[in-house]
């Protein structure tokens, strides 16, 4: 129990007594039980382990020095982790973590369980070595478009426009990147991808801000429009002339001198293509700018309480237009990563729901850039896990479909408040109209 806000020295203004409402018993115990179930599962994995050791490869070979493989005794690792998780689960059920502690504990619990799981998976027959570095590299590659898409969402939604059209913006970027990348060279491709995404963003902005169309409706319709248009152009001209229209040169990784030779982080972070480097810059810029720049302050104000911003002379609609169009451009870059950064050609619906996953990452990450990055990485890892498990053949086959569901289930749990309440910007989705 504490008292709120004081005002004038000596003249205490007490509003109401503030009582910290404890987490409901049911919820506390429920979370505890969930953790314990993971613990039991770990024990089971340990019991089921086939090979004795699991080997994790952590180096690429070009680093300054060789990082030795991590070798873990599978059964022992899983047992130890299982016991730790059971203990943590019991503590949560009986005493309960505070909300912040729970979030930190949650991250640790997830990492430990994953370690037990991977050890077990590697103990199967075929390849008992897991190229962990490769897994992480692939995770980043799979997460990159998600991160860019989610950043697009951050810009739009922080300024008060719901962006369900990330998918369509990415698709437009992917298409423009491939087609104009073939016609004008890959940098021209990136540039046109930015423009194509921005145009989709502009459509969202005009219809949402000027014509006040419900933004969720609008997002869905713009996705359909983008899918239809790009599909149409693909069928009409790109596919019949694949050689001249749909074979862009793919960006190769650029090694940053010195940094790329660092163990672990070198190959992982500093041996990427230019779009990924651009992404790093955008993440840092947006995360920092949102909270430390005039642009960020105004963007957040417009998204939380547009009328307040208007009364201090801020042009609410212009701030929204700028952010939504910029957001579209960034999503377009995310699309370009798919065609120019990895696949090397465009196909119909190439984004295959990545835009929606990016939306999920945005919400999962509570509308903050760094949260969105973390969520995107998590979802990228879930994708990569599908590939990994088909390669290493774990003792018990796990249908990849269930792994594919993980990001979606995680998002449902997130919005259902099972990992703490998420709160959207105050005026997100509400058009601003002066009387």
């Amino acid at each position: 129990m504490s008292t709120a806000a004081t005002t004038r020295p000596g003249d205490e203004v007490v509003i109401h007594r503030v009582v910290e409402k404890p987490m409901s018993t049911r919820r506390r115990v429920g979370i505890g039980v969930a953790i314990s179930v993971l613990g039991l599962l770990s024990l089971l994995l340990g019991h089921n382990a086939q090979a004795h050791d699991a080997r994790f490869d952590l180096s690429q070979g070009s680093e300054f020095f060789h990082v030795p493989d991590l070798v873990l005794p599978v059964a022992a690792t899983a047992y130890v982790i299982g016991i730790i998780l059971l203990a943590v689960g019991a503590y949560q059920a009986v005493r309960g973590f505070r909300p912040r502690g729970l979030r930190i504990a949650g991250t640790g619990i997830g990492a430990l369980f994953m370690l037990a799981f991977l050890s077990w998976a590697a103990s199967g027959g075929k390849g008992s070595t897991i190229d962990l570095l490769g897994v992480l590299e692939n995770t980043l590659a799979l997460a990159a478009p998600l991160i860019l898409g989610a950043l697009a969402g951050v810009l739009c939604e922080r300024s008060g426009v719901i962006n369900v059209a990330i998918e369509g913006q990415m698709l437009a970027g992917a298409w423009a990147g491939a087609m104009f990348g073939t016609l004008m060279g890959r940098f021209g491709g990136v540039l046109t991808a930015l423009v194509a995404g921005a145009l989709m963003g502009w459509l969202l902005a005009v219809f949402a801000i000027r014509y006040l169309v419900n933004q969720v409706v609008l997002g869905v319709v713009l996705n359909a429009l983008s899918l239809g248009l790009t599909g149409f152009i693909y069928d009409a001209i790109m596919q019949p002339n694949a050689n001249t229209m749909n074979t862009p040169q793919v960006f190769q990784p650029l090694q940053i001198p010195v940094l790329s030779k660092l163990p672990l982080v070198g190959p992982l972070i500093f041996d990427q293509n230019i779009i990924v480097y651009l992404m790093y810059a955008l993440v840092i810029l947006i995360q920092w700018g949102l909270f430390h720049s005039r642009w960020g302050l105004r963007t957040r104000a417009v998204g939380e309480h547009p009328k307040a911003a208007d009364t201090v002379g801020i042009n609410v609609l212009r701030v929204r237009y700028v952010n939504v169009i910029l957001g579209g451009a960034i999503a377009g870059l995310g699309g370009a990563f798919m065609t120019l950064g990895s696949v090397g050609s465009f196909t119909k619906g190439i984004t295959s729901g990545n835009g929606f996953i990016a939306l999920a990452a945005l919400i999962f990450g509570r509308w903050s850039p760094k949260g969105a990055v973390a969520a995107s990485l998590l979802f990228g890892f879930a994708y990569e896990l599908q590939t990994l498990l088909s390669l290493v053949a774990p003792p018990v086959a796990i249908p990849s479909y269930f792994l594919a569901m993980l990001p979606y289930l995680a998002t449902i749990f997130a919005v259902a408040g099972l990992v703490g309440k998420v709160r959207a910007p105050g005026a997100d989705g509400e058009p601003y109209v002066k009387e």
């Binding site: 014509y211 969720v216 609008l218 319709v221 259902a416 959207a424």
Partner: protein, 417 residues
């Protein structure tokens, strides 16, 4: 300014200057939803025509020397557009060439295809529209269709029951499957406040992956287990054809019309519908008047799920005979546009479903006879909805006056509410 009555276009404006007669007429036109809808359709078809011309190789090659002989390009374009839209009409309504053969299939084939395409769109549109009216956004049509089709299909091929009974049981199974999948999103919103837009999108992917898994399981998958396709539904569980086996139109159409009538009654004449509408229009007032807002979330999503489930039923027991990964055929998302075009009421949704069904059926014909990619239909559909959602834009394009709000305005607002 609480004393100011909210301005409405319905009230006369006694004090205001009397607008000049032509302006008044244009204003009346601009506020008429049918006129706006028609103009939206025209505008979208114009864009579609440009795309058709663009995709026509003759037009493209003529445009290379546009400035020396512009008429060549225009002539080629006009011809391409004419052929394209003629094919669209022939595929959707009436084809003189095939009709000349005098067979039932030749005469009624196009209409049959239109009705077949329209059936699940109407059901899906009703599902989305009903949720709209209760203030909810059902983007989960895809998942609910998949769930419904999977359940109905499973009962259809795995069980072996007598005629009629098998069909009824399979239909009910589909309704239950779709209903539960929809109700899950409603229940999550009621219990935890999870926004239905997010949960329904996510549940779509969960359903699709679930189906993917089932299609890899023996017993569900059809021998010889190479392809992701299920066993074939028993003849007893198929929806009967309406115009003989040569035409695909089937009793699913009756299901759709019956559902439309039921929803019309629900929304205009029933106690439950009153509650749904109240919750949709002002949930605070509904709650204060003693309605359980949470209970209606679950109920409305249950019914919406049942409707989408029925769309799945008509897909698996009517149009197709085995479940595949793309059993929903994009209907879940097209249903949203159908509901918007139909302005979330039952009659409008039936008409919108028929229109989009015709576009789908015609698009197939257009692609096969003129080579215009069928995606042009998706573009036209999206544009129609975009235009009717922003009537101010249509009025601007056609120089009309008016003030009416568009479809999809004033529906569920932000993530927080």
């Amino acid at each position: 300014m609480t004393e100011v009555a909210a301005p409405t276009s319905a009230l006369p404006e006694p004090g205001g200057p009397d607008p000049a007669a032509p302006v008044r007429r244009r204003r009346a036109l601009g506020d008429n939803t049918i006129v706006v809808t028609l103009l939206a359709f025209v505008a979208a078809m114009v864009v579609g025509a440009i795309l058709i011309a663009f995709s026509d190789p003759a037009t493209r090659s003529a445009s290379a020397y546009f400035f020396s002989a512009p008429m060549d390009t225009l002539r080629a374009a006009a011809s391409a557009i004419g052929r394209g839209y003629a094919a669209l009409f022939e595929g959707a309504v009436f084809n003189p060439t095939t009709a000349a053969r005098g067979t039932v299939a030749g005469i009624f084939g196009p209409i049959s295809e239109t009705l077949v395409s329209a059936t699940p769109l109407i059901l899906g549109g009703l599902s989305v529209g009903l949720a709209f009216r209760a203030g909810l956004f059902n983007i989960g049509g895809q998942g609910q269709i998949v769930a419904g089709a999977t359940c109905a299909g499973y009962v259809g091929f795995a069980w072996h029951l007598p005629v009629v009974i098998h069909l009824v049981v399979a239909i009910v199974a589909g309704m239950v499957g779709g209903g539960l999948w929809g109700a899950l999103a409603g229940w999550l919103k009621a219990r935890t406040g999870a926004h239905e837009v997010i949960t329904t999108i996510m549940l779509n992917y969960v359903a699709v992956n679930m189906l993917g898994f089932l299609l890899s399981v023996k017993g569900f998958q059809r021998p010889p287990y190479g392809q992701a396709i299920s066993n074939v539904v028993d003849a007893n569980a198929r929806l009967p054809h309406l115009l003989g086996s040569s035409l695909r139109v089937n009793a699913g159409l009756f299901l759709a019309l019956l559902a439309a009538y039921a929803i019309h009654w629900l929304l205009t004449r029933s106690v439950l519908g009153f509650e749904f509408r109240a919750v949709g229009a002002n949930q605070n007032a509904a709650r204060t008047a003693g309605m359980s807002v949470e209970r209606s979330y679950t109920r409305v999503m249950l019914i919406a799920g049942v409707l989408s489930g029925l769309a799945g039923v008509t897909q698996i027991l009517g149009t197709n005979s085995a479940i595949t990964g793309d059993i929903d055929a994009g209907i879940g998302f097209d249903a949203i546009t159908v509901a918007l075009l139909g302005r979330a009421n039952a009659g409008g949704t039936v008409l919108a479903g028929l229109l989009f069904g015709a576009l789908r059926a015609g698009g197939v014909q257009m692609q096969s006879s003129t080579g215009t990619p069928i995606d042009v239909v998706s573009v036209v559909q999206a544009l129609i909805v975009l235009f009717i959602a922003a009537p101010a834009l249509v009025r601007f394009l056609f120089r009309l006056h008016g003030s009416g709000a568009g479809a999809g305005q004033g529906l569920a607002k932000g993530w927080n509410g």
